[in-house]
């Protein structure tokens, strides 16, 4: 079962003076169990697209097939709970949604909402508290006594605790320290490898190059391109034209090529770039 968008339009405040078309004839198909990145400028429709994945917004026109559900303009708000158990969103700065008196209760809230028993919810909460890298002792504290990074982890644990098939993340690492960011991304990558789909909305091209295996590029509500990171980042002129950044490794590779070191222009990750430079040097030494 794949995620399929067919000619999806979305218009905010239709038939008013504030009418704005945020998605314009968007069609694509995403494979299950892939790590998808959605990139594009501020205001390109990334967040609007993301809110379609679990029907917080319903398409003004077109159709969406996701997790066995078919969504279109006529879809009613009833019966969407099952969809939201399967498709979860982590909003930007999710720590703002913490509210319970203890950390564990806050993580349990989602599972309980989807019908898990007290005991199941409590076990899941403990398991995910550990998974997001927090000590057990934090569990009984108020979420408001934690640091920003810890709060972020608690909020993400709350969304992942009921193990949704599809996890959508909007800038999940914004404002985290480098180590914490690495940990969070490893968690998401691991989650994907265990057989879930992860969809990531981001501005950071290094993360896209490092983790994604499928990329959607949006511009002004239109789907500009859909391909692997290798395909998307292969053409630096095209990226420049559409005001998209290049991964750091590509930028550096470009500088090297300009200085007559003959290597691949599209290494994507620092590791691969280092490998290529190493090979090049070994070869030159041997000659």
């Amino acid at each position: 079962m794949s995620i399929k968008f067919e000619k999806v339009d979305y218009i905010y405040s239709p038939k008013t003076p504030f009418e704005k078309k945020a998605l314009d004839n968007v069609s694509f198909e995403l494979k299950e169990n892939s790590f998808v990145a959605i990139i594009g400028h501020t205001g390109s429709g990334k967040s609007t697209l993301m809110q379609h994945f679990n029907a917080l917004l319903k398409p003004s026109a077109g159709q969406i097939n996701i997790a066995g559900f078919t969504l279109n303009a006529q879809t009613s708000n009833k019966h969407l709970k099952k969809l939201r158990e399967k498709v979860s969103l982590v909003f930007q700065f999710p720590e703002a949604q913490l509210f319970e008196s203890t950390v564990l209760k806050d993580i349990e809230y989602g599972p309980k909402n989807f019908g898990y028993s007290e005991q199941e919810a409590s076990e899941l909460a403990k398991k995910w508290l550990k998974k997001v890298g927090l000590p057990v002792s934090v569990g009984e504290r108020s979420p408001f006594d934690l640091s920003g990074g810890q709060m972020r982890r608690v909020a993400i644990a709350g969304v992942m605790a009921y193990e949704p098939d599809i996890l959508c993340l909007d800038e999940p690492a914004a404002g985290l320290d480098p180590h914490g960011k690495q940990e969070m991304f490893n968690l998401f990558k691991q989650y994907q490898k265990e057989g879930h789909t992860v969809i990531l909305v981001t501005h950071n091209m290094d993360d896209v190059a490092e983790y994604a295996d499928d990329v959607l590029v949006l511009e002004k509500g239109k789907l500009l391109r859909h391909g692997t990171p290798g395909e998307i980042f292969s053409n630096s002129e095209w990226l420049l034209q559409h005001h998209l950044a290049m991964p750091t490794a590509n930028l550096f590779a470009k500088k090297l090529v300009e200085n007559n070191l003959n290597i691949d222009l599209n290494p994507l990750t620092i590791d691969r770039l280092a490998n290529q430079i190493e090979q090049k040097l070994v070869k030159e030494n041997n000659e």
């Binding site: 008196s101 108020s142 408001f144």
Partner: protein
């Protein structure tokens, strides 16, 4: 007197403005079937009274009414009487909840007082003034709703106060750590 009317620090003033804004936004929402719509503005009044006491709560209530009518307009035009009633509710909630432990009887008493004095008596008098409706006619039209709604409000107020209490504990902790 000090207990009811304290000097606001800049921080508290900004918090007051925030709660006023919250009250205005809550006032735009209501739930329930059409014949007993429960508006959520009273939650804002409870928060004003609970955090700021009767005096500043009343000030906040008045300002929220003025700002709300400036932004969204009032049904049937602006009338100063409704500003007065918007001041009275947080004042009553403040007298019952401000710096006091949460007790069921306080919630029941405060809600009943607000319902009887503010919603039933005063607001009916204002309608009588504005539309020259006969007092009993205006009253009977509103009575059914005002008999049902306060009980729903009491339950909500109980949970709201428990939430607000957690905010308050945190606020006090922060203030202490600053001293």
């Amino acid at each position: 007197m000090k207990k009811f009317f304290f000097k606001l620090s800049l921080q508290e003033l900004i918090f007051l403005a925030l709660v006023i804004a919250i009250k205005i936004i809550l006032g735009r929402f209501s739930f329930g079937p059409t014949y007993v719509k429960v508006g959520l503005g009273f939650i804002g009044s409870v928060a004003l009274g609970y955090f700021f006491g009767p005096v500043w709560g009343a000030v906040g209530g008045g300002i929220s009414d003025l700002v709300s009518s400036a932004l969204f307009g009032n049904e049937g035009g602006f009338f100063i009487g409704f500003t007065l009633t918007a001041m009275l509710a947080p004042m009553i909630y403040g007298a019952f909840f401000y710096r006091k432990p949460i007790k069921i009887w306080r919630i029941v008493a405060a809600s009943l007082l607000v319902t009887i004095f503010v919603n039933i008596l005063l607001n009916t008098i204002w309608l009588h003034f504005i539309y020259k409706m006969s007092f009993t006619a205006a009253l009977t039209a509103r009575l059914l709703k005002e008999i049902i709604v306060p009980w729903i409000q009491m339950i909500i107020i109980f949970f709201v106060l428990n939430g607000l209490q957690r905010v308050n504990e945190r606020k006090e902790k922060l203030e202490k750590s600053r001293m």
